[in-house]
């Protein structure tokens, strides 16, 4: 399992750039050991999945990305998935602050970090899942 971690960041711009930096770290690891089946980027102080439940049951597809929740009212602490999917999202996340687009305009919590990351994941062709709680 490949793990990259950044500190808790409230600024969207800094968070997305930080995810991009974590993606580079995961790439560096993945190029040395390309058959690892899972990668995680965390930015919360205490991601809940580290307590007990693994974030994925295994056999993840290479285009699958998993969020803590697909509920946009839940602030994300991590994203996980196949390393290639995580790397793809991380690479594209450099540009997320410039989207200037409201992904879910009807929702009262529009432009949350969650909705933006999920929207971007779908936009670049990833299969998006939320972890069952």
């Amino acid at each position: 399992m490949l793990i990259a971690r950044t500190e808790f960041i409230t600024s969207y711009d800094k968070l997305f750039k930080s995810i991009a930096e974590c993606g580079l770290d995961i790439e560096a690891q993945y190029l040395k050991k390309p058959y690892d089946d899972f990668a995680i980027i965390t930015w919360g102080m205490t991601p809940r999945f580290t307590d007990s439940t693994p974030p994925c049951p295994g056999n993840v597809r290479s285009d699958e990305i998993i969020f803590e929740s697909l509920d946009v009212t839940v602030h994300q602490n991590w994203i996980a998935g196949h390393p290639r999917a995580v790397i793809k999202l991380a690479a594209c996340s450099i540009d997320i602050p410039k989207i200037g687009f409201d992904p879910w305009p009807s929702h009262r919590f529009t432009k949350s970090q969650t909705s933006t990351l999920i929207w971007m994941s779908q936009r670049i062709g990833l299969r998006v899942y939320g972890m069952l709680t």
Binding site: K17, A20, E21, L24, E27, Y30, P34, Y35, R61, S62, D63, H82, R84, A85, I87, K88, A91, C92, I94, D95, K98, I99, R123, I124, G125, L126
Partner: protein, 266 residues
């Protein structure tokens, strides 16, 4: 518009095209940053002297190319297209350097130009220059498009030159690490270097606004052996394809080009 020019591939006729190509690109994108990825054999070339500003240079050891023919990886695929995957490998490593620079400098390239060392580029007039400097949206590619004819009922794109917006560039640069290539699965049913580029573009929903700003022609050794009366290269023909292997080797040797770069037995 912040421009990155990516030149990648085997150098081949590099020494005979670079002055022209550099001049053309300087005229269109005077403030561009250059990223160059070539096999390690190109380390002996004098690349830096052509640039006023130091380009990012990446030399890759081809012995470490993961998709060489004798690996289990490629045996598991239905089709293996070296011309596509080697370039994708170069592109991938350029992409990492590009992202590192973007993060370090806190900026973003919104115009990424993909070039080859063995192609002769020209901008024919101001209209073309206007096209070449048209801002792209983030998920847009220009200069390449699906062929109207769809030969063999498949996707087809040119691979001599294209421009990409910011996110589109990263997606195309990641195609070596394409997230759809689940190990052990037979992914590559589209079978040549052109269709695979098109497939990547279409599958990621990258809009392809085709317009031909750059006049791009393959520049092969014969083009610099048989010169025009004014001394310019004879571009645009397909003489190279009809030449015998010994003649091709002779042409390479005459120009100081390693015949191995054209997969010629030497």
């Amino acid at each position: 518009m912040k421009t990155a020019i990516l030149m990648r591939g085997h150098p081949r006729t590099w020494h005979y095209t670079i002055r022209n190509n550099k001049s053309v690109m300087d005229n269109v994108y005077p403030d561009a940053d250059w990223f160059i990825a070539m096999p390690s054999c190109a380390q002996k070339l004098d690349i830096v002297s052509y640039f006023e500003k130091q380009p990012v240079l990446i030399f890759l050891d081809e012995q470490r190319f993961p998709f060489n023919l004798d690996t289990n990886l490629t045996r598991a695929w239905r089709y293996y297209i070296p011309a596509y995957w080697k370039l994708a490998w170069f592109d991938y490593h350029i992409g990492i350097c590009k992202r590192q620079k973007e993060l370090a400098d806190d900026m973003r390239y919104d115009n990424v130009v993909f070039l080859r060392p063995d192609v002769w580029y020209q901008i024919v007039d101001d209209t073309a220059k206007t096209k070449a400097t048209t801002c792209l949206s983030r998920m847009e590619i220009a200069e390449i498009s699906i062929s109207p004819g769809m030969p063999d009922d498949d996707w087809v794109l040119g691979d001599l030159c294209w421009r990409a917006g910011s996110t589109a560039a990263d997606i195309m640069l990641l195609r070596y690490l394409d997230c759809w290539q689940t190990p052990g699965m037979n992914q590559l049913v589209h079978g040549n270097s052109h269709t695979l580029i098109a497939y990547m573009q279409q599958r990621n929903l990258l809009s392809g606004s085709y317009y031909s700003a750059f006049d791009a022609m393959l520049a092969r050794p014969d083009n610099f052996i048989n010169l025009n009366a004014d001394g310019s290269p004879t571009l645009g023909g397909y003489v190279w394809e009809s030449m015998s292997t010994p003649d091709k080797i002779d042409a390479c040797v005459t120009l100081g080009i390693d015949p191995n770069e054209y997969q010629l037995a030497y």
